[in-house]
């Protein structure tokens, strides 16, 4: 749910990073936070457990620039990936404008990827959103690991809608900004379309 503020001349949008546990959602946000100019970003907030597993969400506000005198701001959120945090995941999807699905490329995680996309689709539907229509980008992460599935195979399995996708190595930043730009652009075009 975008917030268009004529008083402060700002457009604010919300993007949620979704995916199975340990797929690299938080790592994506950490990399964006490290590589964004201080004046363009706010604090990275992580509500995590002592073992650095996301408990509720991570939050990072970033400014992308100006269009016609309006500041374009994005609020990036991650959900907790672990299965038993289902209730929290639903809350974070409220008011979402665009979704990034971070998939774990390791062959043994393919089932978790599929379960997580199914979970995403159901949780979105509960909030009145349709994964078939929402601005949406997929990242096939962890391409640096040995036991991974070919990206094309993953795409056939996980991306029936054929949305933009990128190969990623979030720890080194590969594909991280490409993914963000892709979804942010879709969000802005969607916003333009609706007005």
């Amino acid at each position: 749910m975008s917030f268009i503020n004529y008083a402060s001349r700002e457009i604010n949008c919300k993007i949620v990073y979704y995916g199975p546990g340990l797929c690299g959602k938080t790592t994506n946000l950490q990399y964006i936070h490290r590589r964004t100019n201080p004046e363009q970003k706010g604090k990275l907030i992580s509500l995590a457990t002592e073992t650095e597993r996301t408990l509720f969400f991570d939050f990072l506000p970033i400014a992308l620039g100006d269009i016609k005198g309006f500041k374009i701001r994005f609020h990036l959120y991650t959900v907790p990936g672990q299965v038993f945090y289902a209730a929290s995941r639903k809350l974070i999807l409220k008011g979402v404008d665009g979704v990034v699905f971070v998939a774990d490329s390791q062959i043994e995680r393919m089932e978790s990827n599929m379960e997580s996309i199914e979970d995403l689709s159901i949780n979105l539907a509960e909030q009145g959103y349709d994964l078939e229509k929402l601005p949406y980008t997929i990242q096939y992460n962890k391409r640096d690991l040995p036991n991974i599935a070919p990206a094309e195979d993953m795409d056939n399995l996980l991306n029936p809608r054929r949305v933009p996708w990128f190969e990623g190595v979030a720890v080194t930043g590969k594909g991280v900004f490409e993914t963000l730009k892709s979804v942010a652009k879709q969000v802005l075009f969607e916003l333009k379309k609706n007005y």
Binding site: Y6, G42, F56, L91, K94, K185, L188
Partner: protein, 166 residues
């Protein structure tokens, strides 16, 4: 601010009216900081000593807090818990849900009291609800007349969006 499709819109006129209400509340409740947040975590307006506070993070966490509490409420068969209060050693925070849509946050210390804050928040809430109703009407009216489209998005071209990502 109002629902427009699923998005929120805020105009300068109503923003000033909200600003006046928040300043009044800040003063009358003897509060340190007062701010208004959209349920999705976007900061709408604030009053008081905000320079030392990361208001963007605070807004997002407050909305997360309200969302989590709302989740608990539904598990218990309640519709919503409309007031949250956190007491600290020095500072306290009073959070209330207004008109199902926005969150009013008051941070105060020993110079004020929970009773005073509750009383003033109640009064301010009534005024704020009225302002939101006015904005909803305004958005509907402008949408009906096709003015909303002219105001911003008609000016933004596909190229402008592309340029942002170069």
């Amino acid at each position: 601010m109002a629902m427009n499709g699923s998005d929120l819109v805020m105009y300068e006129e109503e923003f000033s009216r909200i600003d006046v209400e928040l300043r009044k509340l800040h003063q009358q409740a003897n509060a340190m900081v007062v701010f208004l947040v959209d349920k999705n975590g976007q900061l709408i307006a604030s009053a008081g000593e905000t320079h030392d506070i990361d208001t963007t993070s605070l807004a997002s966490l407050t909305a997360g807090n309200i969302a989590a509490t709302g989740g608990i409420a539904r598990l218990l068969g309640e519709k919503e818990f409309t007031i949250l209060f956190h007491e600290g050693e020095k500072d306290n925070i009073h959070i209330s849900l207004i008109g199902q849509r926005v969150i009013l946050v008051v941070i105060f210390d020993r110079r004020s009291s929970l009773g005073l804050v509750r009383l003033r928040v109640k009064k301010a809430s009534e005024a704020l609800v009225k302002i939101f109703e006015d904005i909803t009407q305004k958005v509907d009216k402008e949408k009906g007349e096709g003015k909303l489209e002219e105001s911003l998005f008609a000016e933004i071209s596909d190229e402008d969006i592309d340029n942002l990502f170069k």
